[in-house]
């Protein structure tokens, strides 16, 4: 393997990894606060992509506006999902909420088929993101650079939000203990909604970037990235934002390098995530950055 080729793979791996990381953060935030695997998170990726697509294709508004609309709409949808499908089940057993989440995911996918149609649609990538640069003999599309940059910016913003603002403090409190937080005068429902809004917004940004990297839209496009990012979140230690980022990069780089170095195993690319997941869970059941929680007896 030449150095150029290796560099190309590394750049691709970092780019894919940061995309995974971005989506994984949303999973981890929701899990941290509700202890819920939000299966619908992956489908928000799909919704965001379609909104961006339609607002350009039908209303012919500029792409940057369409991206903002997509993110705002998805945030609202995320909050709505929480209000209608998860909130009524706050005191139910975990499995019931999990199944509700699966139901929402089901619903979004099939609504996607009904509304957007089952046939793949080509996503119009704005020129800014589709330019090809040649750097040190390696051809790289500009979106490959944009993804890590946007991820880092958003990540810094999120860290600021969680650690330096009042809302962030409330989020951390709610994640630790519902009842006590509400006794301390925190509006738990509002904080949960905010968390869903932020998480869904990140998924939306992820969705728009995903469709610029892989510019083909289908209603099931969110399933595999959704699953993989969830795995990234678990591998990193669910509930932990640094963990989600580590998990995302591990997964993205691992996948690309597996295909690069062992092309005969490329059919197992999707299995890589699952194998990594199982190895991590068996070696360190709470993930790389996860804390061990012992059950009180």
């Amino acid at each position: 393997m030449t150095l150029e080729l290796f560099l190309q793979h590394m750049v691709n791996g970092i780019s894919l990894g940061s995309l995974y990381a971005l989506i994984a953060i949303g999973y981890t935030m929701v899990y941290g606060i509700l202890r819920l695997i939000n299966f619908a998170h992956g489908d928000l990726i799909m919704i965001a992509a379609y909104i961006a697509f339609y607002s350009v294709a039908i209303f012919s508004i500029p792409w940057y506006l369409s991206f903002i609309i997509a993110v705002l709409f998805t945030m609202a949808l995320g909050i709505m999902i929480e209000r209608s499908a998860y909130k009524p089940l706050r005191s139910s057993p975990r499995i019931t909420v999990l199944i509700s989440a699966i139901g929402v995911s089901f619903l979004l996918q099939n609504l996607g088929i009904v509304i957007f149609g089952g046939r793949p649609k080509p996503f119009q990538v704005p020129e800014l993101f589709s330019k090809v640069y040649e750097i040190a003999g390696v051809n790289i599309v500009s979106i490959t650079f944009f993804i890590p940059i946007i991820t880092i910016v958003l990540l810094l913003g999120l860290i600021y939000l969680i650690n330096k603002t009042k809302v962030g403090m409330a989020m951390r409190a709610v994640a630790k203990d519902y009842d006590t937080s509400s006794l301390m005068g925190i509006d738990v429902n509002k904080i949960i909604s905010t968390t869903f809004g932020v998480g869904s917004g990140l998924a939306a940004v992820g969705g728009v970037m995903w469709s610029m990297k892989f510019p083909q839209l289908i209603p099931f496009m969110g399933v595999i990235p959704g699953l993989k990012c969830f795995i990234a979140a678990v591998v990193g230690g669910i509930g932990n934002i640094t963990g989600a980022v580590i998990g995302g990069f591990l997964l993205g780089l691992g996948e690309i390098l597996l295909v690069a170095f062992l092309p005969e195993l490329s059919g197992y690319r999707d299995a890589f995530a699952f194998i990594l997941l199982i190895l991590i869970l068996l070696l360190k059941p709470t993930g790389i950055m996860g804390e061990k929680i012992a059950e009180k007896v």
């Binding site: 695997i37 499908a85 089901f106 089952g118 999707d270």
Partner: protein, 355 residues
């Protein structure tokens, strides 16, 4: 004989009578749905054992069904058929010549799935709750991805076509032998699970569901019992998978995505986690409902054809069950005469009170 045994015998007799009527009166499309119902009964009851009774959220069922379906198909297809199927890459050595009869193939399919259940369960069941769910889901997907990639054994994504259905039920030629196999297998599955739950081991499973730590403090070896439940559950999943393969006649790895696991999980939840009779009722009604809803996709009552609408309605129905009936149809109770009678009595009593 106890009352329980008599009621069970009566129920079995009624089922068999209904099957005889069905065999003589239903068209092939309806028979197919009937068989699908039986297969889903097997899937749901077996999944309920690990999820509902033992309380272990395991989501690898589709993988075990796939193992059963593939093992069965590779055993019963004749060598010529195999050669036609494996035109890209030939099937590997001993498998390309084997040609087994139905019943041994069915049982071996179950055993292979049980083995898979053991291999998955042994590491995964050390985890708990959500982590177990994700790990088993991962294992299920890995099984499917392996099947997609081992072309010289499974024919990869091309799948297997022309899988034969049994032409005899035991030694009898029947109009529809497969229907008999499916439903006898379903009945055996149900009886087996009822007996298991009624035994000391079944109680141990339930204890684990209720409170792991307390169960362990009562001397129940957690891991051993969880693996036991998992192996039994996957054995029956394998049997169901084999029957599914012979009903549909064509299998490919995409059939066994985790969507299949979710379908079964939803059936189990709607019926009630920890209720065998709930699983049976739910499996039959949801399978029929899915077929009835098919009309939606083709457009009906003046509505335009909208592909996907069926699943939207299905998803909405399930959501409403989860939101408004979180314990499912039966909770963790079983259907019994007393309860049915109580249900009938209640409205009557209310009337009397009103007078």
């Amino acid at each position: 004989m106890s009352k329980k045994v008599i009621t069970s015998l009566i129920l079995i007799l009624i089922t068999i009578t209904l099957l005889i009527i069905a065999q003589n009166n239903l068209d092939s499309f309806s028979l197919r749905i009937l068989n699908l119902c039986g297969i889903y009964v097997i899937f749901a009851v077996s999944m309920n054992l690990i999820n509902g009774f033992t309380g272990q959220l395991a989501l690898g069922h589709a993988g075990f069904i796939a193992v059963g379906a593939y093992s069965y198909s590779l055993l019963v297809m004749d060598p010529q058929l195999k050669e036609m199927n494996f035109f890209l890459k030939p099937l590997i050595a001993p498998l390309n010549t084997v040609h087994w009869p139905f019943l041994p193939a069915l049982i071996l399919a179950g055993l292979m799935a049980a083995l898979a259940g053991f291999l998955v369960g042994a590491p995964a069941l050390r985890l708990r709750g959500d982590y177990l769910a994700i790990a088993t889901l991962g294992f299920g997907e890995i099984i499917r991805i392996i099947f997609t990639n081992t072309q010289s054994i499974t024919n990869g994504s091309l799948g297997l076509k022309g899988i034969p259905a049994p032409d005899k039920f035991l030694f009898f030629s029947m109009k529809n032998s497969l229907m008999w196999w499916v439903w006898i297998a379903a009945i055996i599955t149900v009886i087996f699970h009822f007996l298991l739950i009624d035994s000391s081991y079944g109680r141990a499973f339930k204890a684990i569901r209720e409170d792991e730590k307390a169960a362990q403090a009562m001397g129940i070896a957690l891991f051993k019992h969880k693996v036991m439940a998992m192996v039994i559950s996957s054995f029956f999943a394998g049997i169901g998978g084999a029957l599914l393969a012979s009903l549909i006649g064509t299998i490919d790895p995409l059939m066994f995505r985790f969507l299949l696991t979710f379908n079964i999980l939803l059936i189990v939840v709607v019926g009630g986690m920890g209720s065998i009779s709930g699983s049976i009722i739910s499996a039959i009604s949801i399978t029929i409902l899915m077929e009835v809803l098919r009309a939606l996709d083709q457009g009906f009552m003046g509505l335009p054809a909208l592909p996907g609408l069926r699943m939207v309605v299905f998803a909405l129905l399930l959501m409403s069950v989860v939101l408004f009936y979180p314990k499912g149809l039966m909770g963790n109770e079983e259907l019994s005469w007393n309860k049915l009678m109580n249900l009938l009595k209640k409205p009557l009593l209310l009337k009397e009170v009103k007078k």
